[in-house]
C-alpha cells in the first residue's frame, strides 16, 4: 500500500511476501515453521524489494517500465556514486543517500502552440510523488532535459519559464490553472545530452507540504548562437524537447539508510578495542594442565 506521508506516523514498511510466495521465490527465503505470515524476517532492503515483489505479485499488474532515457541517466548516476560491487564512493560533497527520478504522467502532457513564434515550447507536466516516504527530506530538485545531440548546433541559449499550478482536487486529472508563479532561467546548451535545471527553491515549499502531485507548465524559448550578440527573434529555433524528468535528491533519515556523515553512529557500532583481559578469566576457562603449557609456550 502506498506509504502515508503523514510525518507523525513512523514510516511503516509493509509486510513481506506471504509464506507460500516466499518459498516459491526462493527456498532460502522460506520462513521458519510457526512464524506468522508476513512476519518480516528479511533486512529492510530485501523487505522493501520483496514488498515490491509482493505488489507486482499480488496486484498482478505488470511493473511500469521506466523511460529508457531516464534509465540511462540513472545508470550513469549510479556509476558516479558507487563502485561495480555497489559500495558507495566516499563523496564529501553530497549528503543525499537517495535520488528519485520521476517521469511526467503521460495523460497531462499538453503541448501549447506558441502564438507568437508558432513553435512548440510549452508543455504541461504532472508528477506523482507517491513513492517519496515521510522520512525522505528534500535536499535538491532538478528538471532534467535530454537534448538530441545529433541536431547540428553550434550552441544555443534557452530561457525557461516555469509555472506551478495548484492542484484543484475536485477537478479531473489534469486541473485547470488556478494560479501560477513563473520565473525564468538562462542556460546554455552546447553539445550536451542532459541539461539540469535546478528548481529546488521553487518546489521546496510544495514538497515540504507533502504535496503528492506536482503540476507545472514549462515554457521554453531557445535562441541560436550567443544571446549577447544577437537578440533578433528570428534566431528562435524549434527545439524538439522531450518532456523533462523530475529528479529529487533526498536524505533518507530512516534506520536502514546509509548516513555517510554520521561517523558517531559508526563508531558506536564497531566494538571498542577491549582492554587487555585480566588473567582471572584466562585461568578459569583453560584446563589447568593445558593452560600452563600453553602459557609457557606463549
Amino acid at each position: 500500500s502506498p506509504r502515508s506521508r503523514d510525518r507523525t506516523a513512523p514510516a511503516k514498511v509493509s509486510g513481506l511476501l506471504g509464506a507460500p510466495e516466499l518459498s516459491e521465490l526462493h527456498p532460502l527465503l522460506r520462513l521458519p515453521k510457526g512464524v506468522s505470515r508476513g512476519y518480516a524476517l528479511l533486512p529492510p532492503l530485501l523487505k522493501v524489494l520483496s514488498d515490491q515483489g509482493r505488489q507486482s505479485w499480488e496486484s498482478g499488474t505488470p511493473r511500469l517500465q521506466p523511460d529508457s532515457r531516464a534509465l540511462r541517466y540513472m545508470k550513469r548516476l549510479y556509476k558516479m556514486y558507487a563502485t561495480k560491487e555497489g559500495i558507495p564512493k566516499a563523496h564529501k560533497s553530497h549528503l543525499y543517500n537517495t535520488v528519485r527520478l520521476f517521469t511526467p504522467c503521460s495523460e497531462c502532457q499538453h503541448r501549447h502552440r506558441d502564438l507568437i513564434t508558432g513553435d512548440f515550447h510549452s508543455v504541461d507536466l504532472l508528477f506523482n510523488l507517491d513513492r517519496v516516504t515521510a522520512l525522505e527530506h528534500l535536499l535538491k530538485s532538478v528538471l532534467l532535459y535530454s537534448f538530441d545531440t545529433s541536431v547540428p548546433t553550434s550552441s544555443f541559449t534557452c530561457t525557461c519559464h516555469l509555472s506551478v499550478k495548484e492542484h484543484d482536487f475536485s477537478s479531473q486529472v489534469c486541473p485547470s490553472i488556478s494560479h501560477s508563479v513563473a520565473f525564468s532561467l538562462h542556460f546554455e546548451v552546447r553539445k550536451r545530452k542532459w541539461v539540469e535545471i535546478d528548481v529546488t527553491s521553487f518546489l521546496q515549499p510544495l514538497i515540504a507540504t507533502n504535496r503528492r502531485n506536482i503540476h507545472m507548465a514549462v515554457n521554453f524559448t531557445c535562441l541560436m548562437g550567443d544571446p549577447h550578440h544577437n537578440t533578433k527573434q528570428d534566431n528562435l529555433i524549434n527545439v524538439a524537447l522531450v518532456p523533462p524528468s523530475l529528479l529529487l535528491y533526498l536524505n533518507d533519515t530512516s534506520e536502514q539508510a546509509y548516513h555517510r556523515w554520521n561517523s558517531l553512529r559508526h563508531r558506536r557500532k564497531s566494538p571498542g578495542r577491549p582492554k587487555q583481559r585480566s588473567s582471572l578469566f584466562a585461568d578459569v576457562t583453560g584446563d589447568e594442565g593445558r593452560q600452563n603449557t600453553q602459557r609457557k609456550r606463549a
Binding site: P43, L64, Q65, I87, L101, T103, P274
Partner: protein, 135 residues
C-alpha cells in the same frame, strides 16, 4: 616384545613436525576458527533483476566458525563472552557457547525500479559484513 616394538617403529616413522608454528597452532587456535567467509549472489538468481538494475552481483559475506575458549582481543569481544563460556563449561551447558557473528558492516548502493515506473538510487546501511566477532 622387543621384536614387536621394532616392527611398530618400522611401520610408523616418527613424524617430526615439519613446521613448528603449524604444530603449535593446533593447540592455540581451534581448527575452524570464527572468521569472515565470502558469498556472492546475483539478483538474477533471486529473480529480482527485473527491478534491481544495479549492482548485478552482491557479496553480503558471512561469519562462521568456532569461538576460541579464551577469547582474546583479536575479536574485540567484551568480557561477557568469556563469562558466557565459563557458564557453558562449568555451570550449565544448556547456555549456548558464544557465537561467531558480524561485528562491522559496510553499506550498499542499489538502483531499483519502483512499481510506478520511477527509478530510485538508494544507499543502505549494514548490507555487507566486513568483520566478525564472538558474542
Amino acid at each position: 616384545s622387543r621384536h614387536r616394538r621394532e616392527e611398530n617403529l618400522k611401520e610408523a616413522p616418527a613424524t617430526a613436525p615439519q613446521n613448528l608454528s603449524e604444530y603449535f597452532k593446533q593447540f592455540l587456535f581451534p581448527q575452524n576458527e570464527c572468521e569472515l567467509h565470502s558469498f556472492r549472489l546475483s539478483f538474477s538468481q533471486l529473480k529480482w533483476d527485473k527491478w534491481i538494475i544495479a549492482p548485478h552481483r552482491y557479496s553480503p559475506q558471512y561469519c562462521k566458525g568456532d569461538c576460541p575458549r579464551v577469547v582474546g582481543h583479536r575479536y574485540g569481544s567484551p568480557v561477557h563472552t568469556m563469562v558466557q563460556n565459563i557458564i557453558y563449561e562449568k555451570l550449565d551447558s544448556s547456555v549456548p557457547r558464544p557465537s561467531c557473528v558480524p561485528a562491522e558492516y559496510s553499506p550498499l548502493s542499489v538502483l531499483t525500479i519502483e512499481p510506478d515506473g520511477s527509478i530510485v538510487y538508494k544507499e543502505y546501511e549494514d548490507m555487507i559484513a566486513t568483520k566478525c566477532t564472538c558474542r
